[in-house]
């Protein structure tokens, strides 16, 4: 396996290095297969929605990408650096927003972000600047000295997104980040991340089972029972399946898969 996509192509100058490249990844829990030969790429500036029902393998895939689990089969490379050859250093260009809140509730927003900045090796002055920038972009800077415990779910989520962007990652991973949030907050977050991908050329991998979070120009990957069953732009997938919406595609794919397995 090569470390970079550009190494694979004879026209390496023309093909951007994938922000994340996953090749032939499989994973089992005992005898149960959670992921089966999964391969895909996310390019810089691309918003990729990873769609799948509960148990499809999304969380396992994210645990492998974040190196919480070791990858027994296949290769995962972030910005051209594989875990196999670079170890934990390959995680440097990665920003993550987990489904579960991972902020320290008893610390203030500023203290949480400062702690994270140190873990990412940022200097005090740069951290200060980025804390202001990322929180301001999410209209949270005025609450920088409040304890996280005193914030509501939507504001906590915004702080987590700001934290994930603090070190200017090339790949942003979000695991169902809008779960439990009201419609307005969901819309704000979905819009913000879509804009971020374009403006900052950040690759986004967004897992969800909510169809309205996926836009027509997005890259869509549909995962079912550990396998990728669709991979392309939303428009391509709609045209291929002669469907009007992602929701219709998803339902028909799932029904077809269930019938095939009967």
């Amino acid at each position: 396996m090569t470390d970079t996509l550009s190494n694979q192509s004879p026209h390496s100058e023309m093909v951007p290095t994938a922000a994340i490249s996953i090749e032939g990844v499989s994973y089992n829990y005992g005898k149960r297969k959670a992921l089966d030969d999964v391969s895909f790429q996310v390019l810089p500036g691309q918003f990729t929605a990873l769609l799948g029902a509960n148990g499809a393998g999304k969380s396992t895939l994210l645990s492998l990408i974040t190196r919480l689990f070791d990858t027994p089969d296949g290769t995962i490379s972030i910005d051209g650096k594989s875990f196999a050859s670079h170890g934990s250093k390959a995680l440097a260009p990665l920003g993550v927003v987990f489904q579960q809140t991972t902020l320290d509730l008893d610390l203030s927003v500023r203290q949480n972000l400062r702690y994270f900045a140190r873990l990412r090796g940022m200097s005090s002055s740069f951290a200060k600047q980025r804390i202001e920038e990322t929180l301001s972009a999410l209209e949270m800077f005025e609450r920088v000295d409040e304890r996280v415990r005193d914030l509501n779910g939507g504001h906590r989520r915004r702080v987590e997104i700001a934290r994930s962007m603090l070190h200017q990652p090339k790949l942003l991973l979000l695991d169902e980040p809008t779960v439990g949030l009201d419609i307005q907050t969901r819309r704000v977050i979905v819009n913000h991340i879509h804009n971020l991908a374009k403006a900052d050329n950040v690759a986004v991998l967004w897992t969800t089972h909510l169809m309205d979070e996926i836009w027509d120009e997005d890259h869509l990957i549909v995962l079912d029972k550990g396998k990728i069953i669709e991979d392309g732009t939303v428009r391509e997938i709609l045209a291929k399946n002669e469907a009007n919406s992602v929701s219709d595609v998803f339902e028909s794919i799932i029904i077809q898969e269930e019938e095939r397995l009967k």
């Binding site: 994973y27 089966d36 919480l68 027994p72 934990s88 250093k89 994270f116």
Partner: protein, 273 residues
């Protein structure tokens, strides 16, 4: 091996540990009240009956509170070591540990840095306790009579003992699946370690009472931690204690690094597919 990222990350981990410690005032108070109760109530009550004849490292007859001080310093570090491990399990269950594990830092460094931060907090607690004990001596409530230089010579001993007790707690936390299970482990670890040691009574006196009990005490690394602190507090070096504490630290830390699985309690380990 150690780069700029690691130094900044270590600073970050220390920063968070101290912030959390000072915000948890009850933890700070209980860390001080527990040994002070032992010192004031237990030693005052037993002072008349438990005075000790001269034996190393002591040059003269000593009152019982002088004997107890090293054991209580080690007790603070024992509780702190287990408390740090408890907070690691809490962080693992609450998800904060995931933030650490998704940084470009090696896993061994993350565990060592957490351990180092725990030791730093335990030093603060021990010196706060010694300062209060010094205050009681100044106003003649106690007769501690420790040479001021002892407060400096004890520092390396406290560092190495804190490291051992923290590493033991970390190795235990790596094997515990859920937060609730850790309370039981603490009861089976903290109390036996403390009581089956030389923290409260000298080994020669224990040997006179029960040879079997004495043997158990000599198998307990906590005994060597207490004695190392005792000698260091009086400006002397206890080589056997230092060796046992250092070897135990390395083994416990090695076990913790080997056994630490961030996904434990969340999911089973995967197999080659």
């Amino acid at each position: 091996m150690i780069d700029g990222l690691m130094i900044r990350a270590l600073y970050g981990i220390l920063y968070r540990e101290f912030l959390r410690f000072f915000q948890q005032r009850a933890r700070f108070l209980s860390a001080l009240v527990r040994p002070l109760i032992w010192l004031l109530v237990f030693s005052a009550g037993w002072r008349q009956t438990q005075g000790l004849a001269p034996y190393a490292p002591y040059q003269t007859y000593i009152p019982y509170e002088v004997y107890m001080i090293p054991g209580l310093c080690a007790m603070i570090q024992l509780f702190n070591g287990m408390q740090s491990s408890l907070s690691m399990i809490y962080d693992r269950e609450m998800g904060s540990m995931r933030v650490l594990l998704t940084t470009p830092l090696p896993r061994w460094f993350i565990l060592v840095a957490r351990l180092f931060a725990g030791v730093a907090v335990s030093l603060l607690q021990v010196y706060a306790f010694l300062a209060i004990a010094f205050f009681f001596t100044y106003f003649e409530f106690l007769e501690l009579d420790i040479d001021p230089i002892g407060y400096i010579t004890v520092l390396p001993a406290l560092v190495i003992c804190g490291f051992m007790l923290g590493a033991l707690g970390m190795a235990l936390s790596a094997t515990v699946k859920q937060l609730e299970n850790f309370a039981g482990v603490m009861n089976f670890v903290i109390f036996p370690m403390f009581f089956i040691s030389s923290a409260l009574f000298p080994l020669w006196r224990i040997k006179d009472l029960s040879y079997t009990f004495y043997q158990f005490c000599t198998y307990n690394p906590f005994t060597y931690a207490v004695e190392l602190i005792r000698f260091a507090l009086h400006g002397q070096f206890y080589a056997e204690g230092a060796l046992v504490v250092a070897v135990t630290s390395v083994i416990a830390l090695g076990l913790a690094i080997y056994a630490y699985d961030p996904s434990r309690g969340l999911k089973a380990k995967g197999k080659k597919g």
